[in-house]
Amino acid sequence: MTENIARSFIETVSRLPNKPFLVAPDGREFKYKEVYSRARKFAYVLSSNGIKPAHRVILTFPNSVDYICAYLGLLLYGCTGILVDYRSRPDHLKYVYDNCEASLMVTPEKRAGFEEIPGQLVFPSNLDEYPEIPENEIDTDWNPLALIMYTSGSTGIPKGVMLSHANLSHTISSIIEWAGIDENDRELTTLSLTHLFGLAHIHIYWTRGGTVYIEEKLNDIPDLLNKIESERITSFPGTPGGFKLILDQFPEQFKEHCKNLKYIIVNSAPMDEVYIEKVLELLPDTRFYMYYGLTEASRSTRICYNEHPDKLKSVGTPTPGSEVIVGTSGDRLIDQIGEILIKGPHVTSGYWGMDSSEFFDNGWFKTGDLGIMDADGFITWEGRLKEQINIDGLKLVPGEVEMVLMTHERVLDCAVVGAPDELTGECVIGFAVVDAKPDKKLEIDLRKHCMRKLEVYKIPRRIIFVDEIPKTDSGKVKRVLLKERLRR
């Protein structure tokens, strides 16, 4: 397999030009050759806007066929893609734009509040009228950097994870090897395709020649379950929170409509054993995979729970080509808790524009996650070394929310922690010291203040008013005490 993921797509186009690649939510099918043509037209649009290979281009779209065509187009033209969640606020996009020195930001439509971000281009609604970029201008050899994906750093300042074509290509071949995905597979995805979990599946399918049914999000569950059966879907990836919603509300429909699924893949956050058992019970003939990884080291471990019903707490063993240890490079721990370290061809070389040496230990990427490796080599994820909060796979750090809360005129001090949540794994809880009457109205006012500056999932579910935020002598918030208070 070629190392360039756009080249893999071209190889599939020449093998299966008339095979459907994408199916839009309204049922419109797009064959491989059609998506290729649209991607080349978008590459022409880039070229005619002065973009050159290796330029960095931001795409911020909801799930759609246009988005995938734009993404493929920029890769075919040799650009680096920066994929930003469509729910992101203007401040975040502006930061990303400046940090990666982007040349262009492409959106599906003009958006109020985003006017200050320079270099914007609306995806042309008349794309069909544009010419395709000539074949001799397709450039899949020169620029090794495919993506820069921004994640929350421990300080709350986003860092751009650099992912090369070689990184992504290894992940593709690894998943194909252990999950056995082939050109007959048909996947229905509700995952955000600006995040690596959902996007990597698109890469796999375009490499193998499968078909992907794109849905904007997990909305009408009964309708989606019907579609899984009527369209003979074989793969349905999702987050633990998404599966919990389905299993709690529609277990019978899930059992009936999903019985022919070849496999289910879950990622992004830990899943409660009760729900894993429920999936195994309802769909005994479907392979149920979980994988663990980070944007920096995607799909580093995997497990098929059907084969290991005694390891439901584990996220499995290293994927082919990955090495995973717990502890440090010089002191590997077995049956003891320590930091998870990862090495392999899928691991990022570092973060855009910054010295990344502190994130590596003798070539091992330090994940910041805590885990335990048992004597059989199975890893169990135990939490985060630092303070990141994981809302069903969407991550944030307390500092992001605290910075916003502190800008409210009534807030004197504050702290934010993650609290356990049955549906999403964790939720955000704020603690605030205020110089006004601490009542419900003020709590709602503070949450609305956060809503204006932060993505929806980062808004505190509750704000608890306190007299004082517990801190160490050096001024660090004692989050453990705040979490204990929530448990009382």
Binding site: K217, L423, I444, M451
Partner: protein
């Protein structure tokens, strides 16, 4: 505005962080950014706590607007 309507409005303000001018019967997830699938579940739970009526899964997924919530409550004898 009835007392129950006030209760529903307060409940939705707390969950969805809506302002007064967003409390319209025909407003739903398209108009209210904070109304996602998790918010729908939270609304159903809060309605049960406040009005004592437990929505069925079918009713929960059919909630597309504020008016839909009112329709369900009215059908259960709640005066709004």
């Amino acid at each position: 505005m009835s007392a129950n309507d006030d209760k529903l409005k307060a409940l939705l303000e707390e969950i969805l962080l809506i302002d007064d001018d967003q409390y319209h019967d025909d407003y739903g997830p398209d108009e209210i950014e904070t109304w996602d699938s998790l918010a729908t579940i939270n609304i159903a739970n809060a309605v049960e706590k406040e009005f004592g009526y437990s929505m069925s899964p079918e009713e929960i997924v059919s909630l597309e607007t504020i008016g839909d919530i009112k329709t369900i409550l009215i059908s259960r004898g709640v005066e709004i």
